[in-house]
Symmetry: none
Subunit: 201 residues, 4 copies
DNA sequence: AATGAATGAGGCTTCATTCAT
DNA sequence: GATGAATGAAGCCTCATTCAT
């Protein structure tokens, strides 16, 4: 019974923290305000989480693992795909786990991507962009064609990688319902797949 | 002569402030550090700018106007464009002033877009996205076609608007030289124009 | 059986407390850390000891008594000693119990002497020095000689008393083994007895 | 005029800080209490000294240099002394600068020796003891005699080195007046020179 | 006996800003 | 215009201790 109460309170704190972190970002979030919103004293807050950072990680560590696993899975399955209709297939493979991510963890996803300055995750967004970018250019390199090889060194793929990620973030930001997510993730994927296919004849 | 000296000092302050604001954002920027970098006392800083906010605006108000004018101009000229080759024309019309913006004010541009949390400009980025989005959908509405009219209510254009803006921010973030900007702005525009033209046959 | 367990736990706490007190001193020692090292909860710690001070005294009261008894014994036996070869005799009489003190309670000895700031023992060290000093000067007074009587009012005996005590502390601090203690206590005593005998012809 | 006031206030702060540091040591000294005793607000205290450590160093850095110079000078002059009557000469050479140290900076001297735990000077006392000890043993090594060479590796010289230093600290602690210092430093030196001469025939 | 929850005071420090000179 | 002095609020965090269970 006590443990249940405790867990409930811990959840209340994490909820208050999520709000504050989302609103202000890690750096500008205030432990005082989190405590106030959770209706406990500031010092008591530290009985639940030893530091602002620990509290932040208690919220974001989960999503971090999910995203990493998602990427690892994609890398694995991608090698088993033939080069024909590559983008269509990847798009399908990607779409499902991404939709799940947004459906189940969109707030934490936004937090780790946008509000993590000052934490160990502050470079995670950029790292993700680079990983996505690499996928694009490596595929271009695979196509034996002098023209495309030059393209592969171009900054445009960095932008497109960021656009892809930003699109998902924008969907998360304006979340309406799960069906809506499905539709828009699909549309976003399709858009970029078609757009990029101009580089691969 | 005194006035020249004073102006020079004011510029020195603004330069120091820009660095600090870019590095930390408005909320986490420190007036002390700005004063230190400008090599004046903190209290003297207040003889030049009455508050942190005013100092911020002295840097960002200019870009704010430039961006707004840029958009107003686009709205005006757009109506004079025929519907054929619309995107190509818009792309050309847009590209030039945007390149100038990035070439001449990329730091202030990034600042008002990314570092303005806590100021009156904190929602400017989202407002811009909405304006751009409206341009897209209004044009769709103009095309009398049931299919496209449904599309116009879709969130995909919001995403694309953000992608366009984010692309420009990413170019600004990684700025190398003016020619490089030209190339990438052009490429970005072309990519999105081609991508979007799928919605307009 | 329960009592045995409890006693064992109480000892575990005292052991953890001794470490923490030795490391940080009374004032900077943390009840939290003591509890952690004793592997119990902080609140449970208070079921065994009502306060940080009580816990401290549970460790140091013993040595306090030992030292006091040691001094009382010395005072008693001293009166039975003839004035000839006084120092040699005292040295022998003193050396043995002091060696025992260091062998058996050197940590508590160091703690009450060096780490008791903020407790009722914080002046114990200085008090001890004064007691030792008195022994020296009273003996000088006993010698009917104007010269030595002047000397007796001199601060030099205060210094020597402190040197004696500090020597013992230094031996305790760098403790290697019992034999090593024997050797160094003996050497220290001999040094000071010889040095002091210059005042008593 | 303002500057004079400012300097006076800075001195008032340093005075209040010296008292607090002497009473509690660096670690347990409270910036709040220092500010209260200096009759300024805690935040204003930070306009004069950037941190507790800087404040501490503003008091102790001077003595640190003085002591180091004192030791350097001694090392230099010592080599010019003949081996006969070595201790008497050294005693005289040492006595004067040490008396000056105690006369002019006894509080800072005590502070850096006893209250510096938690600062960069926390090992200074032990380092000094080791330097003094080395002087003793190196001199023993210089005397070609198997007996004394064994002695030189003995811990007793470490104790005597500490005793010498502790004697000076005790004189500083109980300071009465300059003449009193002169007398007692002399007596202390003489005592240890005579005591130690037993090792050098 | 054992523990989680709770607290108020205090720790050092930075903040933007104001004021008198 | 320039500066040092001053401040109150707030930043994160630790403390010893108490209380209900």
């Amino acid at each position: 019974m006590v443990q249940i109460l405790k867990k409930e309170r811990k959840e209340r704190i994490k909820h208050a923290a999520l709000s504050e972190f989302m609103l202000k970002g890690f750096l500008n979030a205030s432990m005082r305000k989190i405590a106030q919103n959770a209706q406990i004293s500031t010092s008591n807050l530290y009985n639940y989480f030893n530091s602002k950072e620990k509290l932040f990680y208690s919220i974001t560590d989960g999503v971090y693992d999910i995203i990493n696993n998602l990427i690892r899975d994609l890398m694995r399955t991608e090698k088993e795909i033939g080069r024909e209709y590559f983008f269509e297939q990847v798009s399908n493979l990607i779409a499902q786990p991404i939709r799940d991510l947004i459906k189940n963890h969109r707030e934490e996803f936004l937090l780790i991507m946008e509000g993590s300055q000052g934490t160990k995750y502050e470079n995670f967004q950029e790292e993700l962009v680079v990983v996505i970018e690499k996928h694009f250019t490596e595929h271009l390199h695979a196509i034996e064609n002098t023209e495309t090889k030059d393209l592969a060194d171009t900054f445009i793929f960095h932008i497109l990688a960021r656009n892809l990620l930003e699109g998902l973030l924008e969907i998360s930001r304006h979340y309406i319902n799960d069906k809506w997510v499905d539709y828009n993730v699909q549309a976003l994927m399709k858009y970029h797949v078609l757009g990029m296919s101009q580089f691969f004849q």
